[in-house]
């Protein structure tokens, strides 16, 4: 039997246009475009290549964290520790590299491994004990915070060797300078967007978030899958640590503290459901840009930064409300 003889009219994939309109990213995308339009009309500096390059630079750290956060939230989990784990990773990389006891690339590898280790620990506790992700990562937030301050001895670490900050260097694109880190972050988003929508692994992440028992009954190995997701997220926090150092040029023990929640904000603004199983990293990319555009635009308008925080908070509550209402409607 061939597919054409079946009674299903639309076994073809829905058209791209229809997918965009019905996708959960449609709302966030519209919000982003409206915000861009608004700031373009109200400020002169907003709509310039240099400003957009700046926005991407400003969001690449929280964006990379938010990729890991998206993976975890898709499984119906949450990670409160991501920014703090990143801070510890950045201190490990900076200190090792600055002391010169190991080559810079080894320092970077160690930083990624340490952050991956935190992810692994989170995953093991969530899966094997099992404990709620909220509690595990709340505890890990404190552990990583303390280790950051103990290991750094409260000192900001500067005089870092070149390779550690290489991602902060720029190349010209037309009249605009772009950092390699921005490109790298965008590449990560594309990589994970592809993995989530075009590989078995991606399908399994969604299935796990939908219904863990159903995933198990369908023969998915839910335990290594879950632990793997938390570990992958940890490695992404390590990459974020590298991006952070390359952007600031120092290892700062005070860094990352607002990023724990900012990453969740970006994920939620991007239309990913906190209940798991629904959402995408492309949505998160839009969510990250929304946060970045609002911060940037309001700054250009001369609005004090505390009001930027206020507006971000309102946006999050709005986004979760929309998620909740649309879920109710789907029933």
């Amino acid at each position: 039997m061939t597919a054409t003889s079946t009674p299903y009219a639309d076994i073809k994939a829905p058209t791209t246009a229809r997918r965009l309109l019905t996708a959960p990213t449609a709302g966030p995308l519209a919000a982003l475009l409206i915000a861009c339009l608004f700031f373009s009309l109200t400020t002169d500096q907003f709509l310039t290549g240099g400003n957009f390059s700046l926005i991407v630079q400003q969001v690449m750290v929280v964006g990379t964290l938010a990729i890991g956060q998206t993976l975890i939230i898709l499984t119906a989990g949450i990670d409160l520790s991501c920014g703090t784990v990143m801070a510890f990773g950045s201190i490990v990389i900076a200190k090792m590299a600055a002391e010169g006891s190991v080559p810079p690339l080894v320092a970077i590898a160690l930083g990624l491994a340490v952050c991956g280790g935190f992810g692994l620990a989170n995953g093991l506790l969530v899966q094997k004990i099992p404990l709620p992700p909220f509690i595990v990562t709340l505890g890990m937030l404190n552990v990583a915070f303390a280790l950051t301050h103990i290991y750094s001895e409260e000192q900001t670490i500067s005089n870092l060797p070149g390779p550690v900050t290489a991602l902060g260097e720029t190349f010209p694109l037309g009249y605009t300078d772009i950092t390699y880190g921005s490109l790298f972050t965008i590449a990560l988003f594309l990589l994970f967007a592809y993995a989530l929508s075009n590989t078995s692994w991606g399908r399994h992440v969604y299935a796990l978030g939908n219904n863990k028992e159903a995933a198990r009954l369908n023969g998915l190995r839910t335990s290594p899958l879950t632990i793997g997701i938390y570990t992958t997220a940890g490695v992404l926090y390590g990459i974020a640590a590298l991006l952070l150092i390359s952007r600031t040029g120092v290892g700062d023990p005070q860094a990352g503290q607002t990023d724990n929640l900012d990453s969740i904000t970006a994920v939620v603004l991007g239309g990913t459901s906190l209940f798991g199983g629904r959402g995408s990293v492309l949505g998160t990319f839009i969510g990250v840009l929304i946060v970045g555009v609002f911060r940037n635009g309001l700054q250009l308008m001369g609005v004090a930064s505390i009001y930027q925080t206020l507006i971000t908070g309102v946006l999050v509550i709005l986004a979760v409300t929309v998620d909740q209402i649309s879920r109710k409607k789907a029933r």
């Binding site: 299935a207 219904n211 023969g219």
Partner: protein, 277 residues
């Protein structure tokens, strides 16, 4: 029983499963013969679902032995039963609600693109999965307008159809269905029963858990009556009336070794209008 009885495809002896103080399976035996439709019936909470979960790797029994084609086997999980060709429609369906029908159908056994895209980039062959899913669903002839809609947007009966189609599509040695017609209308139930017959006609045995006595009597070759966590009797539907089978299920009648019935609870038996034979 005759001496030439064929050896069971799937067999269990003395299965036990406890949840705290509750003994869900209490020394249960089970025999599924080649090519038969075996109905499993019993009151709510009798332990039918627990029994088939043990038989399909979804739970690991505390004690007892399972044999597949005569060989002792221990399923480490649902995956290991599936790799032996055993497919199950679970009572709660085990579907991923936000994913579409084709994705559910191929969950855990996704198809990859041929060549480099599939091997190096692990790219899924979404088109082929949609086409094959469409073919399997068409086999069921259950009204579905679209295969790209999320399972959560389907009616309860349509969801059940998806779960049934998935199991039948993948089974290689045994199909197990835990109340597959519970949410279905008359027409759709008839289609599932037809499907079960077609599976049997291909020579594959089917285990059917059902509370619907007319369905059971219509389709079953043998009936396994489950009571209080263990097998109370195995009978042929032609040898007993529905009232008698219900009486066995509730414990009013018991079946002796010779296949005759014995009144175990005379009041209950009288109330049910059955007597020993």
């Amino acid at each position: 029983m005759t001496a030439t009885a064929p050896s069971p495809v799937l067999q269990a002896r003395g299965l036990v499963k406890r949840y705290g103080h509750v003994t869900a399976i209490d020394g249960a035996d089970f025999d599924l013969l080649p090519g038969e439709v075996l109905a499993v019936i019993g009151d709510n909470g009798a332990g039918k679902t627990s029994l088939i979960k043990a038989l399909t790797g979804a739970l690991v029994p505390d004690a007892g032995e399972i044999r597949l084609n005569g060989e002792p086997i221990q399923f480490s999980g649902p995956q290991s039963a599936r790799s032996h060709g055993i497919e199950t429609v679970y009572q709660d369906l085990a579907v991923a609600a936000s994913m579409d029908i084709a994705s559910n159908m191929f969950l855990g056994r996704e198809l990859r693109r041929p060549g480099l895209l599939g091997n190096a980039f692990r790219m899924l062959d979404k088109k082929r999965m949609r086409q094959e899913a469409a073919e399997h669903m068409a086999d069921l002839k259950i009204g579905l307008r679209s295969l790209t809609q999320a399972v959560e947007t389907l009616s309860g009966g349509q969801r059940q159809a998806v779960a049934v189609a998935r199991a039948v599509a993948w089974a290689r040695s045994v199909v197990v269905m835990d109340e597959p017609t519970a949410a279905l209308g008359v027409k759709e139930s008839g289609q599932v029963l037809d499907l079960i017959r077609r599976v049997r006609d291909k020579g594959m045995p089917v285990v059917l858990i059902s509370h619907n006595m007319p369905h059971v009597f219509e389709i079953a070759d043998r009936i396994h009556v489950h009571r209080l966590g263990r097998r109370a009797a195995v009978i042929k539907p032609s040898d007993y009336s529905m009232a008698e089978v219900v009486a066995i299920m509730t414990g009013a009648l018991t079946v002796d070794d010779a296949g005759g019935t014995v009144v175990a609870d005379s009041d209950a038996a009288k109330a049910a209008g059955v007597q020993a034979n």
